[in-house]
């Protein structure tokens, strides 16, 4: 496929998204048609996007990067130029593959909104979000990037507050959009600092001094003070969007409240725009980073990972639990990127490429299994109309396929072999392990310590998903809604199936995917990884060029397990030919049968962890006991336990109260008395007459 068809595919994808927006708005009256048209266009666009991305990635760095203008620029400052280099192609692959899977899912999922909400509008915003996200990845100049970045935030805002009848949806929408816009403010300032430096370098401040090709390695030309300011602003701006810990409080509010296909899109793709931004800026624009940049990113990543999973464990709302896990996985990705920055500082290009590959690989993995889990949660919500795990249970018998897909997602996110989560965390471990030897300063202790924290995160994630899967799907249904749940529609299962297939493929064949990452690491860190890392013609994944680097082959493990299955089967034939299996009641210590109320609940499951980490959670529990005549014979018992959201109560709420108090005091300036207004002008006049002349 020569370069011409790549532009065609790309333009085809963009037009298909646009067509999706228009089709679903036009057909808003007839819901079925709107759903099929809107999501169909999105799926088609996704396929074109995948084609263009894979073509660009397979071409390698030699061929010229396809750049073209959307349409001739009409406004004086704005040039709508797009560029598909390796990094953009990789993220285009992520957004397009998710678009296909989510669109297939959404056709079935939209049935939940028939008659209640306007499906055409949902499909329109869904297509708009995909279009603007794709444009964010392809934008080739700062002005256009900020424009589509803001449009993306806008369409995500409409998706989050889609069911605006519910007050919490409105509150979450406003919180999301305010924090996202403050982040964009930081980005505007940061990009303009780069523009200022580029303008000085090139002499004129015309529209082309915004272009990203001019920004390449601009950091070396900037003064250190301005460069660090730009770094911090970029970290804040992109940190808000990707849910880094101190800036994460909007994420657990916004993602669960959106419709499930939208929250899958938000968690799977929108967060990755923050990662794309950080990667583009830190590796492409700001030149060789000082050491403290890498240390900051690595420590923020570690803190995000640990706190994300700890707060996830305390949630018993299924989608909020998954939202907190997004924060955890973003932390893991940033650990990879932070380590890569530190290696770049000490000029270990191979290790930098390895850490960057680990981070980007985990970005892809997280997009896939997080979307899968959100779709599963959406199917559960669709069937039982509740997200509270305490009311679910026994769904595996009523929704077997959804349960199977959710289980695969749970195993993948808990980084257990042989699925893709394990591979990307294994790469991160290898990068951290080999990082110890790179410097002699005290900072090299950070690598093993963050490795240990990564292990803690992985184990806690496993505990969290045992709780999530076990309490939601296993044992007996705890409520009437859970008992009457029915399996999701075939299109929803198909959507989830696509993601399961992708997870399994990325888990078992890491080296083939690593080949796609080659041009990205070659562009950003200067090293092509796959020749070094894929040993035994692609079967085994190595971790470093020296012969004694650790090796892993998930395919080998799976194959060994298949062969060894003969042992238990042989034992069964040898010993247990006459053994019968009988179905009986669960052991109930002689009482007359177990009721669902006796099962272990989500709160109970996470109680030990809440006690161990009570310094962080500061749990509060109240037991109200009503009784008729004696306190020892309670008629009803109400138990309520609450975990304090530290960041919100300690930082954001006091800040908000302070700003409003100052504003109210300032409002007294406009107190209504004409005399006061005259005095303001009189004083201004006197001051100017005295001092300004």
């Amino acid at each position: 496929m020569e370069p011409f068809s790549c532009d065609l595919l790309l333009k085809g994808a963009l037009c298909a998204y646009l067509a999706g927006v228009c089709a679903s708005l036009l057909a808003a009256r007839r819901e079925r048609l709107a759903a099929v048209a809107g999501f169909g266009c999105a799926a088609l666009a996704g396929i074109c996007g995948i084609g263009a991305a894979i073509w660009a990635l397979l071409q390698g760095a030699a061929t010229p990067v396809p750049t073209f203008d959307l349409w001739p620029s009409v406004l004086p400052v704005l040039k709508l130029s797009l560029r598909l280099d390796a990094l953009s192609a990789f993220f285009l692959l992520i957004v397009s593959s998710l678009a296909v899977a989510l669109s297939v899912y959404s056709v079935g999922y939209a049935r939940a909104f028939y008659g209640r909400k306007n499906v055409g509008v949902l499909a329109a915003f869904y297509n708009a979000l995909l279009l603007t996200t794709t444009l964010v990845f392809l934008a080739a100049n700062a002005f256009f990037f900020l424009l589509v970045w803001e449009l993306m935030a806008l369409s995500a805002f409409f998706l989050v507050s889609f069911e605006h009848e519910k007050p919490e949806a409105r509150k979450a929408g406003v919180l999301y959009f305010v924090m996202s816009h403050l982040g964009t403010g930081c980005l505007i300032l940061a990009f303009l600092l780069l523009f200022q430096c580029a303008g000085q370098a090139s002499g004129d401040f015309g529209p082309d001094s915004y272009s990203f090709s001019l920004f390449h390695a601009l950091g070396d030309k900037m003064t250190p003070g301005r460069r660090d300011a730009a770094f911090l602003l970029f970290l804040a701006g992109f940190g808000v969007k990707s849910g880094l810990v101190p800036l994460h409080i909007w994420l657990p509010e916004a993602h669960p409240i959106a419709p499930s296909n939208a929250s899958a899109l938000l968690s799977g793709v929108l967060i990755k725009t923050g990662i794309y931004g950080l990667t583009r800026v830190l590796f492409d624009f700001l030149g060789t980073p000082p050491n403290w940049w890498g240390v900051t990113v690595l420590s923020l990543g570690t803190i995000s990972a640990v706190l994300g999973v700890l707060y996830a464990l305390m949630e018993h709302d299924l989608k909020r639990l998954l939202a907190y896990h997004s924060i955890e996985n973003i932390g893991i990705i940033l650990m990879g990127l932070g380590a890569s920055l530190m290696f770049l500082h000490t000029h270990h290009e191979v290790l930098a490429a390895l850490a960057l590959a680990a981070g980007l690989y985990h970005t892809m993995n997280h997009a896939l299994f997080k979307a899968l889990l959100f779709l599963g949660a959406g199917a559960v919500l669709h069937a039982t109309h509740t997200r509270d795990m305490e009311k679910l249970g026994g769904l595996i018998k009523r929704m077997p396929q959804t349960a199977a897909c959710f289980l695969i997602g749970a195993v993948a996110i808990s980084a257990l072999p042989p699925l893709n989560g394990f591979v990307s965390e294994w790469l991160t471990y290898q990068a951290l392990l080999q990082g110890f030897g790179t410097t002699s300063s005290l900072f090299r202790l950070m690598f093993p310590l963050s490795g240990a924290m990564l292990a803690l995160t992985g184990a806690l994630a496993a505990a969290c998903f045992v709780k999530a899967f076990g309490i939601t799907f296993l044992a007996q249904p705890r409520s009437q809604q859970a008992a009457e749940a029915r399996e999701a529609s075939p299109s929803m299962i198909a959507g989830m199936g696509l993601l399961v297939a992708a997870c399994v493929f990325l888990g078992l064949f890491p080296t083939t995917f690593l080949r796609l990452l080659d041009p990205v690491t070659e562009q950003l860190a200067g090293i092509e990884l796959s020749p070094m890392l894929s040993l035994a013609n692609g079967l085994v994944l190595g971790s470093s060029s020296q012969p004694l680097g650790g090796t892993i082959s998930t395919l080998g493990i799976a194959f060994a397990a298949l062969c060894l299955i003969t042992v238990p089967l042989g034992l069964r034939l040898w010993f247990g030919r006459r053994a019968r299996t009988r179905i009986g009641p669960t052991w109930d210590c002689g009482l007359q049968g177990l009721t669902p109320a006796m099962e272990y609940t989500a709160t109970g499951f996470s109680k030990p962890i809440r006690m161990i980490f009570k310094a962080l959670f500061r749990p509060r529990r109240e037991v109200q006991r009503e009784y008729d005549f004696s306190p020892y014979f309670a008629t009803t018992l109400r138990f309520e336990s609450h975990v304090e959201e530290v960041f919100e109560t300690r930082i954001y709420r006091p800040l908000n109260r302070l700003v409003l108090r100052i504003s109210r005091r300032l409002r007294a300036l406009q107190a209504g008395s004409l005399q006061a207004y005259l005095i303001y002008i009189f004083i201004t006049l006197l001051l100017l007459l005295l001092f300004a002349l």
Binding site: L456, S553, A560, P568, A579, M598, G604
Partner: protein, 314 residues
């Protein structure tokens, strides 16, 4: 790079046979120390044979997760076992994964074991799963830090490399780094296998049992697989501990005398470690559940000290 099929078969057989023996020895010696006669050393073999022959009762609420969990636990332990060097320095499946893969496989087994505990819907299973996952989560960083210390000094996470590195001339029997890492890993071993200070493998008392709570609903063939898997996991961890810190006379090549010497040394080391476990079990009482994290944090601090010492002393 070639996978010698013979090595794999021998190691699998070795794993299957030695694991129940170790559990039997520990039970027997513990009884002797408490001057009881206790069960015979090969009692576990007969238990397993009995369970395999008996027919099963499966709870009505259980799903296919309950039925597939025994196979996953058993196979993950077995595959992990194949990646650990027991007799010869080169583990049969060492190409497919190093120590991180072993830890990952054991975690996979634990994941499905906990799910199986929750499936029948009884409170015991839920409590067992919750405690198992919590303790494992707290033990994980200590184990990872100890492994990191050892891997850093050896330069790779591949167990054969670690073992060969510690056979190098500069290696002293127990330098301070390895001593602290060994202590940390010993505590983690006790936590992972649910031995006395953390859990009590002998009783079915709901206050103390963690591992047994999850197996409560199993019977017949599945119970055999579960028990066997648990003992293989215990063997894998003990072998890891033994061969990494005391890599004395591991067979460098496949010649008969080297293998025999290696096997003998391995047996001695294994039984010595089992003895140490028995001594610890009889001299200690079980810790309250919320004191267990303090113990495991102590293990984490030990591993961190080991890491620091590699940085200071080198």
């Amino acid at each position: 790079m070639s996978l010698d099929l013979a090595g794999i078969l021998v190691q699998t057989a070795l794993l299957l046979l030695v694991a129940p023996l170790v559990t039997g020895c520990i039970k027997n010696w513990k009884a002797k120390l408490q001057n009881r006669r206790g069960p015979r050393v090969w009692q576990p073999y007969s238990d397993l044979a009995k369970f395999l022959a008996k027919s099963m009762v499966i709870s009505e609420h259980a799903s296919w997760v309950f039925r597939s969990a025994p196979y996953v636990v058993f196979l993950s332990a077995l595959v992990a076992g194949l990646m650990v060097p027991m007799v010869s320095a080169q583990a049969p499946l060492s190409l497919f994964g190093g120590v991180l893969a072993v830890v990952g496989l054991l975690a996979l087994g634990r994941f499905f074991l906990a799910l199986a505990g929750l499936d029948p819907g009884s409170a015991f299973g839920g409590m067992g799963s919750s405690r198992e996952m919590t303790i494992a989560a707290i033990a994980e960083p200590a184990m990872m830090l100890a492994i990191f210390t050892v891997a850093i000094s050896a330069g790779s996470t591949n167990l054969s490399q670690i073992v060969q590195a510690s056979q190098a001339p500069a290696w002293r029997l127990l330098n301070p780094i390895h001593a602290m890492a060994l202590a940390a890993l010993f505590i983690v071993l006790l936590a992972e296998t649910g031995r006395i200070p953390i859990g009590n493998p002998a009783t079915h008392l709901e206050l103390t049992m963690i591992h047994e709570a999850m197996l409560l609903e199993y019977s017949g063939r599945y119970l055999a697989l579960m028990e066997w898997g648990a003992s293989i996991k215990q063997l894998v961890l003990m072998t890891l501990l033994v061969n990494v810190f005391f890599p004395v006379s591991l067979a460098a090549n496949a010649s008969a005398p080297a293998l025999a010497l290696g096997f003998a040394a391995y047996a001695v080391k294994l039984l010595a470690l089992a003895g140490a476990v028995v001594v610890v079990e009889t001299t200690n009482a079980k810790l309250r559940l919320f004191r267990v994290p303090d113990l495991l944090t102590a293990a984490f601090v030990l591993a961190a000290l080991a890491l620091l010492s590699t940085f200071l002393f080198q």
